[in-house]
Symmetry: C2
DNA sequence: CTGTTAGCGCCTTCAA
DNA sequence: TTGAAGGCGCTAACAG
């Protein structure tokens, strides 16, 4: 069916080795004449190199896997977009997989992807559990973390300055005069949730405020979780008038709960999206640069892959280096007053 | 480095052929005793089968590529989620790639993915141009279309009943008493846009309304496009009070333009999302079942792959079969009055 | 600069 | 039921 390198060799009147020298990446010495003959032969035969065969030989698939907790999440997909672009520019293909927010699924995806021979993996872990990642590293596959840090394994990571983001978000609310501020949502097994809670607490402390336990409404990172937490808050005896949402999904659920309710509350949340201008209670947004995070992850994993290919892998072990991208605080009110910008 | 089938064979005291018979998919006759010995040997060695090598031999990678116009689009990702799940249940891996809304990029993704040996491809084409898809089919790789239909090639497709959806959306607005209704956005090279425009026109015709040319505000499928169309509408001498948005992105841009403007307009649009309840002008939504569409695409492409593997490919050529999933019209007002449901 | 040769790891007839 | 042997398509020494 498909033409092989032998067909090309035959037509060009050279050996398969010469054809390979012309067609394989990395410039090899070939006379310009034979070079052209080979290229023409390949062209006229409609020859396509078989990457499977090449990979078997070279032990490289020029593929990087990106494992995210879920696909239908704008933040993750923005990261993916940035990463895919960067990888493509290096000749790599990105393989996107979803763990469905399950560490179990993540684990099986990981081994499956490793079996399929990806050259490296970038993962946004479903939880902070990271021991299963070690198995991949042990197989000699470079792995880095994005957005969320996992424990039990020493890996390089790219994330945002979550602590500072939450700190500034909270401070902004304090500056606006709010005293009783709640922290809503957050799976404490997820590093970003912990870091944000920590920033929140620091801002309160700096303001000399002792956090009331009932204002720490932890639990979950999904829309449903935000909805439920907010409902509980509204039904509580003395609801706060301002709150920090742990992430976009929780924020969304909170706003959802607020729809059609006359409660006057203000929310500060994470992650900007095309939709945030429409969230009625939203006052501040801590915006991460998702695309940039993706690009950065792309270059980092490729560095890892190159180091490994160069052999300087066993000693280097340059794990645990955490790069934190800055977060921008956006005041979200102009939009609602007609000073639109797009 | 990695253990091979020979290591397992040696430890189990059998030949590599026997190991293969035990480990490869498809049950082969092996004595229960040797079976267990092989399994144990593999286990104790931490043996992992090399899928690259297997693929080279079997000509199957158990991989299906899904090419979407963009990743950061909830509708596409919901489709992907449904498809990935379905494929996984069949032992296939989904490879997600983005064409970045460019037919050129789509084309290069297609050939690259084909070179990498995917068993089948599912594509949401960037435009209606489909001739480049034929090249893939000619290479013997099953291809199906999802959501958007492409021309110049005869392929099976899964999409929604867009014409009917737009028809009912428009009728709903007519029933509410609106007479002057605009159609906003729509790249006419995209099939869904054409179908929706057609349904819109039919509803008007049935109501005995002659569409005013200035109310057909075509152009683009992105947020920016919706914003610009809406701006032009608001600045026009006699703006309509109701409109149909070609898709979620355009709808979003329109609402964005409306923010902080006192105009009283009503929008009917496509695609439900977590965010639609927050869009102030949104009155009706034509909801597609994205996840179901993905599942359906998954089973369809696997059927195609199986047919091909069975050899009944050249004759069958069962192309051009378009499956249309129903669309549900949702009235979007309860949400805003406090009758929330989640 | 180019050809010969030997596999990469696995699957699969063909014999036994 | 099992083993021996050949080869999938390509690359990488090693000669020449």
């Amino acid at each position: 069916m498909g033409k092989t390198i032998r067909d090309v060799a035959a037509l060009a009147g050279v050996s398969t080795a010469t054809v390979s020298r012309v067609l394989a990446p990395g410039t090899r010495r070939v006379t310009e004449g034979t070079r052209i003959r080979v290229l023409k032969a390949a062209e006229s035969l409609g020859y396509r190199t078989n990457f499977i065969a090449r990979s078997l030989k070279t032990r490289s698939t020029m593929t990087v896997a990106f494992i995210v907790p879920e696909l239908a999440n704008n933040f993750f997909m923005d990261v993916a977009e940035g990463m895919g672009e960067k990888l493509m520019s290096y000749g790599y293909t990105m393989l996107l997989a979803s763990s469905g927010n399950s560490t179990e699924v993540e684990k099986s995806q990981l081994t499956m992807l490793a079996d399929r021979g990806v050259d490296g993996m970038v993962v946004i872990p479903a939880s902070s559990r990271g021991d299963h990642l070690q198995a991949i590293v042990d197989r000699g596959i470079p792995v880095i973390l994005v957005d969320r840090i996992a424990e039990g394994v020493n890996l390089n990571a790219i994330t945002s300055d979550n602590e500072k983001g939450a700190f500034e978000l909270t401070k902004a609310l304090l500056n606006d005069g709010y005293r009783r501020i709640a922290f809503v949502g957050g799976d404490i097994t997820v590093s970003t949730a912990r870091e944000r809670l920590s920033g929140f607490a620091r801002a309160l402390a700096e303001a000399g405020i002792v956090p009331e336990p009932e204002l720490i409404c932890l639990g979950g990172m999904e829309v449903q979780d935000g909805y439920e937490r907010m409902k509980a808050i509204l039904e509580s005896p003395n609801p706060p008038e301002a709150m920090v949402a742990v992430n976009l999904m929780v924020h969304l659920g909170m706003e959802r709960c607020l729809l059609g309710v006359r409660a006057q509350v203000v929310i500060a949340g994470f992650d900007a999206s095309e939709y945030t201008p429409f969230l009625p209670a939203c006052r501040y947004i801590a915006a991460q640069n998702a695309v940039e995070m993706g690009r950065s992850a792309g270059t980092t994993i490729i560095e890892g892959i190159n180091e490994k290919k160069a052999g300087c892998f066993q000693k280097g072990k340059s794990g645990g280096r955490v790069t934190r991208l800055p977060i921008t605080i956006i005041r979200h009110e102009e939009e609602k007053n007609g000073t639109k910008s797009l």
